[in-house]
């Protein structure tokens, strides 16, 4: 293990390390903690200049209540859910198929198609912006959740295929050969042999794509406008315009907007990290 385990060092080093840990963490998360403190402060603290003191009263319930009851926030959150969940399902479904095809079969175009997905996944969004916006307008899907979902599914299929294909490559191939010898149809091999083995990959991809799409801002701004279809990342700017200079409410709103992926991360941590670090170890 590197660095040398702290247990095997002098007592003073151990104590120093254990005190340094929480201090480092506090410094690392300071900007975020500041916002968390803001979000439970009363309005009055900001007018009297009590920015960094102890909150004069605890107004967490009032502030968060206002976010949910007196703004479009619930609407935006719901939009985000209706955009994120179908995208996750669509992208994972499409890519388990493409990943299967590219991971199992040997044919000449295999690597080229794989590289097409990988390269497409890396392009800057701006090169797609004008045509995709135009396409969405032409299909009558501008400013709809469907328009956003369709694009997201297509784009995320690139990353998901990369992930799935590499995962399937690592599965034991004799299993598939055995099934073939038994005369099992190819689509049944996919459904009954490969798919059950892909469960960890499906879980990891789902949480990753959930986070990516929930946090998307660019496409939300390009393809939607207004509370009827905008997700929360785009909605938060109109929310902030509504509560201009009301820092306690803007802070509470930001925390609400950031929370779902954070919950997802803490609940599914193992899968999340397994997904992000796939390929980091050989």
């Amino acid at each position: 293990m590197f660095p040398r385990p702290i247990e095997s060092t002098a007592r003073t080093t151990q104590v120093a390390y254990k005190t340094l840990l929480p201090i480092a963490l506090l410094m690392w998360l300071a900007p975020l903690l500041a916002v968390a403190v803001f979000s439970v402060k009363p309005d009055a603290d900001f007018t009297t200049g009590n920015y960094w003191g102890v909150p004069s009263t605890f107004e967490g319930l009032t502030n968060y209540g206002k976010v949910f009851l007196e703004s479009d926030m619930p609407r935006y959150l719901l939009n985000s859910v209706f955009i994120t969940v179908p995208t996750v399902i669509g992208a994972v479904a499409l890519s388990s198929m493409t990943g299967f095809a590219l991971g199992i079969y040997k044919f000449r175009a295999n690597l080229w198609i794989f590289f097409m997905f990988v390269a497409g996944n890396f392009v800057p969004f701006q090169i797609l912006m004008v045509p995709v916006r135009d396409l969405t307008l032409d299909m009558g899907l501008y400013n709809t959740k469907t328009g956003l979902v369709l694009f997201h599914i297509a784009f995320q299929t690139g990353f998901c295929t990369l992930f799935m294909r590499n995962f399937i490559r690592a599965l034991p191939f004799p299993l598939i050969e055995a099934a073939r010898v038994e005369g099992v149809a190819e689509w049944r091999i996919f459904w009954f042999v490969v798919l059950p083995l892909m469960k960890p990959a499906l879980a990891a991809l789902s949480v990753l794509i959930f986070t990516f799409i929930w946090n998307d801002y660019f496409w939300a701004v390009v393809l939607t406008q207004g509370p009827e279809s905008q997700p929360v990342t785009a909605g938060i700017t109109s929310f902030n315009a509504q509560f201009r200079a009301a820092y306690h409410l803007m802070s509470a709103g930001s925390i609400v907007a950031a929370l779902p992926p954070v919950l997802m991360f803490f609940l599914m941590q193992r899968h999340f990290i397994a997904g992000l670090t796939l390929g980091a170890v050989k």
Partner: protein, 314 residues
């Protein structure tokens, strides 16, 4: 495998419909079709369309007028908006270089946290946590952090008697301020990559290194970092992509200001094509093409590395 079932297989493969006989050749294409068509429709063909649009003068609604390379000439001669294009390009370069700091800093934090003390798992999660938050919220959080009247940053430097600095309102600091905000989640990502990598470092090599008298920096440089190569490669890829994609933070924190000094190509393109600057789709597409060509150099390098790997795997 018994003789009889092998004959069954031959019966299945030999007889039956055309589909049955060619199953293995046809199946992958059936599985690929929906994904590939969707991807070509929404990702691959728009790239070429953008190249095409960049040759036109088009407001997004009316007739498009073919003007050849005029848009690119305008970019070069800064015809349209002062030196907006070159400022953006310069800022993109600054982003690229400074963003790479996420890699060594992430490694340092990973080394710091790679211990087995009580509660370390929670510490690791909490250090990683900024990566999960949307860039929009990161942008807001740092806007308030930098605020000259009540921001935490100015409160802290006020303690040591330094005057308030308006990071986001000062042309000299603004880009660095936004990059610092972007480095926060990016460093967290690199850290988690390295933590996973460190977990897989071969303990025998470390012991062998210790016996040879290597420790500290020497050990890190000669024994550990070579073993972290796959993690470093991924960290490099995601950091470069992240740097060139920087849009959210700039849009939230400064809208490219003050006086356009924090623009990057990604943001400038959006501004030209879709915001109050008017709908100059062709000009925007030309900027996007430039950004794409910069990215293409990196994409080519990434693909080349992956290709070498694939060759090695066979």
């Amino acid at each position: 495998m018994s003789e009889s079932s092998l004959q069954d297989v031959r019966a299945v493969n030999g007889g039956g419909s055309w589909f049955h006989r060619n199953q293995i050749a046809v199946t992958p294409w059936l599985f690929l079709a929906p994904g590939v068509l969707f991807f070509i429709f929404y990702v691959i063909s728009p790239i070429f369309q953008s190249f095409n649009v960049s040759l036109y003068d088009w407001d997004g609604l009316g007739e498009a007028e073919y003007i050849g390379l005029q848009n690119y000439q305008d970019l070069y001669w800064e015809f349209v908006d002062r030196d907006a294009f070159f400022v953006s390009l310069k800022n993109n370069v600054i982003w690229l270089f400074l963003y790479l700091l996420a890699i060594p800093v992430g490694l340092m934090i990973a080394l710091f946290l790679n211990q087995n003390v009580w509660g370390i798992r929670l510490y690791k999660s909490l250090f990683f946590f900024p990566f999960v938050i949307s860039q929009v919220v990161v942008g807001l959080v740092f806007t308030w952090f930098y605020d000259p009247t009540f921001g935490l940053l100015n409160t802290i430097i006020g303690w040591v008697g330094l005057g308030p600095i308006n990071v986001l309102g000062d042309e000299r600091f603004v880009t660095y301020g936004i990059i610092a905000a972007g480095l926060w989640p990016q460093t967290a990502y690199c850290m988690i990559l390295y933590l996973t990598g460190l977990n897989a470092v071969d303990p025998e090599q470390v012991e062998a290194g210790r016996l040879d008298g290597a420790k500290g920096w020497k050990m890190l440089w000669h024994v550990i970092i070579p073993q972290l190569k796959p993690a470093t490669f991924i960290a490099f890829v995601v950091t470069i992509i992240g740097a060139l994609r920087s849009f959210d933070l700039i849009s939230i924190m400064t809208q490219g200001g003050p006086f356009g000094s924090s623009r990057v190509l990604a943001f400038y393109m959006f501004e030209v094509a879709l915001s109050e600057y008017g709908f100059r789709m062709g000009y925007g597409a030309a900027i996007a093409v430039v950004l794409f060509l910069i990215m293409l150099c990196f994409i080519a390098y990434f693909l080349w590395s992956m290709w070498k790997e694939e060759k090695g795997a066979r």
